[in-house]
């Protein structure tokens, strides 16, 4: 994660002092510059696309069931994403669509989990 990207994303979408400036006054929950959690989501989405999603019949997602930001992401951190399938089922309303529920996880260079989420994704089904 580049410092300039962290600041640029935050300036547009999440202008909290601790996402914009290392010198923001520290609190007992924030110290130094950290990336917006939504920036981590966006960066993870790109990993998901490049990792496998663009090669699938993905048809979008209805949402995110739950997401946790567990640790701050700092300039210079190197993030790694992984996705585990936790359930697959046909859509009740659309027989041509299947729902795949994932648990996605993002870790930093120390192996610490910085974010995880669970979400359903829609995929086209093979014609019966």
């Amino acid at each position: 994660m580049e410092r300039a990207d962290i600041i640029a994303f935050a300036a547009e979408f999440d202008p909290q002092p601790y996402h914009l400036d290392e010198r923001a006054p520290p609190t007992d929950l924030t110290a130094g510059l950290s990336a917006s959690g939504w920036h981590i989501c966006a960066v993870f989405m790109r990993m998901l696309c490049d990792g496998f999603l663009l090669e699938t019949a993905c048809m979008g997602s209805p949402g995110i069931e739950t997401l946790k930001w567990r640790r701050p992401v700092r300039p210079g951190d190197r993030l790694r994403g992984s996705s585990t399938v936790i359930e697959t089922r046909p859509s009740k309303s659309r027989p041509d669509i299947g729902i795949v529920r994932f648990r996605h996880q993002v870790t930093n260079q120390a192996g610490d989990v910085v974010m995880w989420m669970e979400n359903p994704v829609m995929f086209a089904r093979r014609s019966p």
Partner: protein, 158 residues
């Protein structure tokens, strides 16, 4: 703005944003280059019915309006001599739903309703406030909702 001042059930008008075709493609090219977010022809043939914003783009715009709304509230508190710490970080969110696609030129208006607040045993200086957001398009159709959680400083820490 401090934890004690937050009223459960109160509603905040966060503001509105019109999504342009260019910004939809710019965000998606960087972060979510699925065909229905970057390629107009492929998008027409998709389940979504046309080029539409990445759901993460809609969420980020919600956050932008949310941040700026609460920054104004904090400035107002400071101007009237009340405690005015910045909002704390967020531990996460639940129940985010992309209910309808956001298309170019759609204007999405966001509101936030304070759904709950609670003290935390592990962080005595802070409370956690849960805010249910709702994004509605110009036709009045809900397109986005989520329940975000945020640490808010309590009076004795400021």
């Amino acid at each position: 703005m401090i934890y004690e001042e937050i009223v459960v059930g109160s509603t905040h008008e966060l503001g509105a944003h019109t999504f342009t075709r260019d910004e939809i493609k710019r965000f998606a090219t960087l972060y979510d280059p699925q065909r229905f977010h970057v390629d107009e022809e492929a998008a027409e043939a998709s389940l979504l019915g046309g080029l539409c914003a990445s759901g993460w783009h809609t969420a980020a715009v919600m956050m932008s309006l949310f941040s700026r709304h609460f920054a104004r509230e904090i400035e107002r508190a400071a101007a009237s001599g009340r405690p005015s710490p910045p909002l704390g970080p967020s531990p996460g969110f639940d129940d985010l739903r992309w209910l309808k696609p956001v298309y170019p030129d759609d204007t999405i208006t966001f509101t936030g309703r304070i759904a709950a607040k609670r003290e935390t045993g592990s962080r005595p200086g802070w409370g956690i406030v849960s805010i249910e957001t709702l994004g509605t398009n110009q036709a009045g159709e809900p397109v986005f909702t989520h329940t975000g959680h945020v640490f808010v400083a309590k009076a004795k820490t400021v």
